[in-house]
Symmetry: C2
């Protein structure tokens, strides 16, 4: 059977999507392979033929999350022209995310806290993800002509906003982070001679 022109969707994709949702909502260890199986609508056998074990599924989920985050951020930033606004778009992107139903913080931080001590792979991948975000930010900062030392500061604001919004259960942190970022950027602009004047505020 299954000569259907469209095999619904790639089963591996279905599994990863289902697992991602469950892991994020409940925590990874709280989700059994059986839950994933049920949510994805595949047999256990198939599940284990697609992913040799839970660890491997977790990594696949993290890879998917990383791709979605990176693409989403890139898209949010690319839609904007002005360098300063491009940097601030990061926090608007966060604000949208925080307002989503079921927002529960950064999946990588959560996974790191839960599995980091027992799974070097997870810990390493979380590190890589954060590093990649910092690189993205650093590129934007450089593009805008600011000193690169601004990048880690902006990154810390973004990280802090994520955990704060998660624990408070409110998206306010995105706004606070944005305003702090504006200040830091303005100061950087006023110190940096090679930058188009954009401190005509405040």
């Amino acid at each position: 059977m299954l000569p259907r022109p469209e095999p619904e969707v790639d089963p591996a994709q279905r599994v990863v999507d289902a697992a991602d949702e469950l892991f994020y909502a409940r925590g990874i260890r709280a989700v059994g392979m059986d839950d994933v199986r049920t949510a994805a609508g595949v047999s256990l056998k198939r599940l284990y033929s697609l992913f040799p074990g839970k660890d491997s599924l977790v990594l696949a989920v993290l890879r998917k999350r990383h791709a979605m985050w990176t693409e989403g951020l890139t898209a949010a930033v690319e839609s904007i022209e002005e360098p300063r606004e491009r940097l601030l778009a990061v926090y608007d992107y966060l604000a949208e995310w925080f307002a989503e139903d079921g927002f529960r913080g950064c999946g990588f931080i959560n996974a790191f806290g839960e599995l980091g001590p027992t799974s070097p792979e997870v810990a390493d991948y979380a590190r890589e993800h954060k590093r990649s975000f910092q690189d993205q930010l650093a590129a934007l900062v450089a593009e805008a002509g600011f000193d690169v030392s601004l990048a880690p500061q902006l990154a810390i604001l973004a990280e802090g906003a994520q955990t704060t919004a998660a624990i408070e259960g409110s998206p306010d942190a995105a706004g606070h982070a944005r305003r702090a970022a504006e200040t830091l950027i303005d100061v950087a602009a006023s110190l940096d001679p090679g930058v188009s004047d954009s401190r005509s505020r405040r």
Copy 2:
């Protein structure tokens, strides 16, 4: 019974200390009651007579962590006179913590990520803890005569530094957060007329 002048230490304290160390190092779900029992050197019976279940032990550990954090921060801040420096002492306190062996991020964020979805008590307590930190910061900001809107921004920097330092495995984030805080404070000082001049830098 127990006519010993010194009962070694309060067994409940020993249990909480041992559990705290294990939970923080390995993640809460990764630690069995048996591990706690062994590390604390008490019998299972005694363990369960002191704490009716693992949930209750987890809460006790969080309460202890909250007390230690709050006292440590208060002490770090109180040793300093100048209002601006008092605010920055928060980040020096973080820097010391990050440099400790086995630093693995904020225990409340970790617990929230791991148990938040399944334990409202843990989620609530994490919220309370962060709220209390924000209140401490807000008091320092008010004391220094700055606008209160500075407080959440400084809090976000502190949160971001914690997760960044944890995942990167390096204490650098404390320095970045401190420098960002300096900038934010300087700007706040330059805007706020009712503040002793402390922007004679940069």
